[in-house]
C-alpha cells in the first residue's frame, strides 16, 4: 500500500540527487574529473532499485542524511482496524482490568513479600523479601527441578500423542457411519467424566480409571524386551488409558472443525484423482491447522493444571496450608511454575504456528530491502558529498597552481 502511494514521488528523489550531482558538475570542469564523477554515478544504480521499491523523499535530506522527520507509519485504515479491535475485545479488557488484574498483582506482590494471613487481622505484610523468597521456596521444595523436568518430558511426549489421537478419533467420528449419534455421545463422556464427580466416584472405587486389564500385556512386554526398553514402554501403555480420557475435549474441537470443511472440496479432489491420503494432507490438515495449535495449548494447560496426575500442583495445593509454605511462598511457586509453562506454550506455538501468508512474507521482505536501500543511499550520498568537497578543494588548488604558473610550490595565489 505504502509503495503505491510513494511511487510517483520517486522522481523527486532522483531530482534531488540530480541536483547534488549538477552541483558537482558545475565545479568539475576537466574531463578527467568527469570520468571520476561517472564512476560515482554508477554507484547510484541504487536509484533504480529505489524506483522500484519506493522511498520517502522526505526521509533523506539534500546531503543524504536521514532527516529526523517523524514518519507516519500507520495508515488510516490500520488505525481504524485497531480501534475496532479494541472495541471487540473491550469486555475482556474491562474484565481483565477490574477482575483479573488485582488478584494477579496481589499474588505477584505476595510472592515477593512475607505474608501472614490471620483470621482476625486479615492480610498483613511482615517484610519485603524480593527474590530471596523464590530461593527459599526452591530450597523448601527441593524436588521442584526434577518434578518439573519430568513434567516437561511428559508434556512433550503426551501432547503430540493426545493431539494425534484426538484427530484420528475425530476423523473416524466424522465418517458416514451408522450409529454416528451414539458414538458421538459416547465420545463426549470423557468431557463430562474428567471434570466431574464421576471421576471421584470411579477413582475412589479402584484408585484410577481402568478398563482393560494391563497385567498380561505388561508381562508380555517384560518377557519380550530388555528392561531398559520395557519400563518406558509399559509406562506408555499405562498412560494410554489416561491419554484416552484426556482427549475428549480435543476430539470435540477437531470434530467441530472437520465438519466445517466444505465436502465439495473433497469431491473435487476425488474427481481430480486425489487419494484419501492426499486429501488428508492437502485439504484436511491445512484447514484444521489452527485447531492443532489450540488443542496442543489446551492439552499443555490441562496437564499442567491437573491435580491428580501432576506432582507440582498436588504439592502446591498442600503447600498453602503447611507452616513452611503459606500464601507468599505458594504464590512464588505458582508464579515460577506458570512462567515456565507459559514459555513452554510459547515454544509449542512457535513450532505449530501457521506459516505466514506468502504475501505478508513478501511485504516484509520488501520492507527490509527498502530499509537497507535507504541506508545505502544515505551512505553513498554522504560519500558523494565528501568527494565533492574534496574535489572542489582539489580544483581550487589546481586553479591556484595554474594561476601561479609552473611553480611547484609556494607562490602567491593571486600574484597576477
Amino acid at each position: 500500500m505504502t509503495n503505491d502511494n510513494l511511487t510517483p514521488e520517486v522522481n523527486e528523489v532522483t531530482q534531488t540527487v540530480d541536483r547534488v550531482e549538477s552541483a558537482a558538475t558545475e565545479t568539475a570542469a576537466t574531463p578527467a574529473k568527469d570520468l571520476k564523477k561517472k564512476k560515482k554515478k554508477k554507484k547510484y544504480t541504487v536509484e533504480e532499485i529505489l524506483a522500484e521499491g519506493g522511498i520517502d523523499p522526505n526521509a533523506v535530506d539534500d546531503n543524504g542524511r536521514k532527516r529526523k522527520v517523524k514518519v507516519r507509519t500507520k495508515s488510516k485504515l490500520k488505525r481504524r482496524e485497531a480501534r475496532m479491535g479494541y472495541f471487540f475485545i473491550l469486555p475482556w479488557l474491562i474484565g481483565t482490568l477490574s477482575l483479573l488484574a488485582a488478584p494477579m498483582i496481589t499474588t505477584l506482590y505476595w510472592s515477593f513479600n512475607d505474608i501472614k494471613v490471620m483470621p482476625a487481622k486479615g492480610v498483613w505484610n511482615r517484610q519485603y523479601m524480593g527474590l530471596a523468597q523464590y530461593k527459599e521456596t526452591l530450597s523448601i521444595y527441593q524436588d521442584f527441578p526434577t518434578d518439573l523436568a519430568s513434567l516437561l518430558v511428559r508434556l512433550t511426549l503426551s501432547v503430540p500423542v493426545v493431539v494425534v489421537f484426538a484427530l484420528l478419533m475425530a476423523m473416524l467420528l466424522n465418517m458416514k457411519l451408522k450409529g454416528k449419534g451414539i458414538f458421538r455421545t459416547i465420545y463426549f463422556l470423557p468431557v463430562i467424566v474428567v471434570s466431574g464427580p464421576v471421576m471421584a466416584q470411579i477413582s475412589s472405587e479402584s484408585g484410577r480409571i481402568d478398563a482393560v486389564d494391563l497385567t498380561t500385556i505388561t508381562a508380555m512386554i517384560q518377557g519380550a524386551l530388555p528392561r531398559f526398553i520395557a519400563t518406558p514402554v509399559i509406562s506408555i501403555f499405562e498412560q494410554i488409558i489416561m491419554i484416552l480420557w484426556y482427549g475428549g475435549v480435543q476430539i470435540l474441537i477437531f470434530l467441530a472443525a472437520l465438519q466445517k470443511i466444505n465436502p465439495s472440496l473433497y469431491e473435487a479432489a476425488k474427481i481430480d484423482g486425489g487419494s484419501g491420503w492426499e486429501c488428508f494432507w492437502k485439504i484436511t490438515l491445512p484447514t484444521i491447522r489452527p485447531m492443532i495449535l489450540l488443542n496442543a495449548i489446551y492439552t499443555v494447560v490441562f496437564l499442567s493444571a491437573d491435580e491428580t496426575s501432576n506432582a507440582i500442583i498436588t504439592y502446591l495445593a498442600g503447600f498453602m496450608t503447611t507452616p513452611r509454605g503459606g500464601y507468599s511462598r505458594t504464590s512464588a511457586l505458582g508464579w515460577m511454575y506458570s512462567i515456565i509453562i507459559l514459555v513452554f506454550i510459547g515454544l509449542v506455538a512457535l513450532v505449530l504456528m501457521e506459516k505466514r501468508d506468502i504475501y505478508a512474507k513478501q511485504a516484509a521482505k520488501r520492507k527490509k530491502f527498502e530499509k537497507r536501500t535507504r541506508k545505502n543511499l544515505a551512505k553513498s550520498q554522504k560519500h558523494l558529498e565528501k568527494n565533492n568537497k574534496k574535489y572542489a578543494k582539489h580544483l581550487a588548488k589546481q586553479e591556484a597552481r595554474k594561476k601561479s604558473g609552473k611553480k611547484l610550490k609556494g607562490g602567491e595565489p593571486f600574484d597576477d
Binding site: 477482575l99 449419534g181 470411579i202 470435540l252
Partner: protein
C-alpha cells in the same frame, strides 16, 4: 407400491446386463473391500467400527459399571459373584436418590447456575475472540499472553484474592458471581473459549472478508454475516464445554453462590454431600413409614451420580445434531 408395468426392451437389456455382471468377480471384491468414490470400503468401515467400539468401550466401561451398580440391592453388592448384572433391577435406588438429593429443585437451580453464564459466555467470548482473530492492534500479543497466563496460573493461588475482589464488588452469594465475570470474559475457563473462537475465525478465508468489504459490508456486518455463521461449530463446542464445566464446578459454586445462604443447591453440590443428606432423608422417611430401612451404600451413590450426569448426556445428544447442520451453513460461506 406402484403398479408393475411392462418393461421396455431397453430396460430389459439393462437388467440383463446387470445380471450378467452380478457374479463375484475381482473388480467387485476389490470395490467391496476398498470402497469406491461414493462408498467406504468394507475394510475401512470395519476398521473404523472396530476402533470406535474398542475405545468407546474404554469410555463406556466406568459408566456401565456405575449404571449396573446403581440398580443393585444390598445383597447384590455384598455378593462377590455378581459383578455386572444385578439379580433384580432395584429401581427404588433411584427413587430414594431423587428424594435425597431434592433432585428437581437442584436440577432447576443447576440449569440456571450453569445455563445463564454459559449463554453469556457463548456470546461474549465470540465477540472477544473476533477482536483477537480479525484485527491487529497495539498490544495484541501482550493481551493474548495475559489471556494464556491467566489460564496457566494455578487456581489455588488466585482463588483467595479473587474472592476478596468479588466480595468487595458485592458479587458473592448471588448468581452475579457467575454472571458478571462471564459478561466480562472472565468466566470459568473463558481463555480456552476465546481461543476456540479465534481458531474458528482464523479459518475464514481472508478473501471472503475482503470481498465483503469491497461490496460495502462494514465491520459489524461482516461480523454478523460472515464470522458468526462460520463459527456455528465453535458456538456449539463452547456451549457444551461451558455448560459441562459450570455444571460440574462444585468448589467455586459452593464458594461464591451456594455457600452461606443456601438459596440455591446444584446437583453437584448436593451430590457432594450426598451421604449426609441421604442419611437425613432415610431417617425422616423411616420415621414416617417403618418399611424403608435404607442406609447409604454404593448403589445409592452411583444412582445419584448417574442422575447428575444424565442431563448433560441428554443435552449433548440433542446438540450433536446441530454439529451436522453447521456444515450446510459453512458450505455457503466457503469459497
Amino acid at each position: 407400491m406402484t403398479k408393475k408395468r411392462k418393461l421396455t426392451a431397453e430396460e430389459k437389456e439393462i437388467l440383463a446386463r446387470g445380471k450378467r455382471k452380478s457374479g463375484i468377480n475381482k473388480e467387485k471384491v476389490r470395490k467391496f473391500l476398498l470402497g469406491s468414490r461414493e462408498k467406504y470400503g468394507f475394510i475401512k468401515t470395519f476398521l473404523a467400527y472396530a476402533v470406535l467400539i474398542a475405545i468407546g468401550f474404554v469410555f463406556m466401561y466406568p459408566i456401565l459399571k456405575m449404571i449396573s451398580t446403581s440398580f443393585m440391592s444390598l445383597d447384590d453388592l455384598l455378593n462377590g459373584s455378581i459383578t455386572w448384572l444385578p439379580s433384580k433391577f432395584q429401581t427404588s435406588n433411584y427413587k430414594d436418590a431423587l428424594n435425597a438429593m431434592d433432585y428437581w429443585k437442584a436440577l432447576k437451580d443447576s440449569l440456571m447456575i450453569a445455563g445463564i453464564p454459559t449463554l453469556i459466555q457463548v456470546v461474549v467470548c465470540g465477540v472477544v475472540g473476533y477482536g483477537f482473530a480479525r484485527f491487529n492492534f497495539f498490544g495484541k500479543k501482550l493481551c493474548i499472553g495475559i489471556l494464556i497466563l491467566a489460564f496457566v496460573l494455578p487456581q489455588q493461588i488466585l482463588i483467595t484474592p479473587t474472592y476478596v475482589v468479588y466480595s468487595q464488588l458485592g458479587l458473592t452469594n448471588s448468581l452475579l458471581a457467575y454472571i458478571v465475570p462471564a459478561l466480562l470474559g472472565q468466566g470459568i475457563k473463558a481463555p480456552i473459549f476465546i481461543l476456540i473462537y479465534m481458531s474458528f475465525y482464523r479459518q475464514i478465508p481472508q478473501s471472503l472478508v475482503e470481498a465483503a468489504s469491497i461490496d460495502g459490508a462494514g465491520y459489524f456486518k461482516s461480523f454478523f454475516k460472515i464470522a458468526i455463521p462460520s463459527a456455528t461449530g465453535a458456538m456449539i463446542v463452547v456451549l457444551l464445554f461451558s455448560f459441562v464445566w459450570y455444571w460440574n464446578e462444585s468448589y467455586l459454586t459452593n464458594l461464591y453462590i451456594t455457600g452461606r445462604r443456601s438459596e440455591y443447591t446444584t446437583i453437584i453440590t448436593s451430590l457432594s454431600k450426598f451421604d449426609s443428606s441421604f442419611d437425613a432423608y432415610a431417617n425422616s422417611s423411616s420415621a414416617g413409614s417403618s418399611s424403608s430401612s435404607a442406609s447409604i451404600n454404593e448403589a445409592y451413590r452411583m444412582a445419584g451420580t448417574v442422575l447428575s450426569v444424565l442431563p448433560l448426556m441428554i443435552l449433548y445428544f440433542i446438540m450433536q445434531r446441530y454439529f451436522v447442520e453447521s456444515i450446510d451453513n459453512a458450505g455457503i460461506t466457503g469459497e
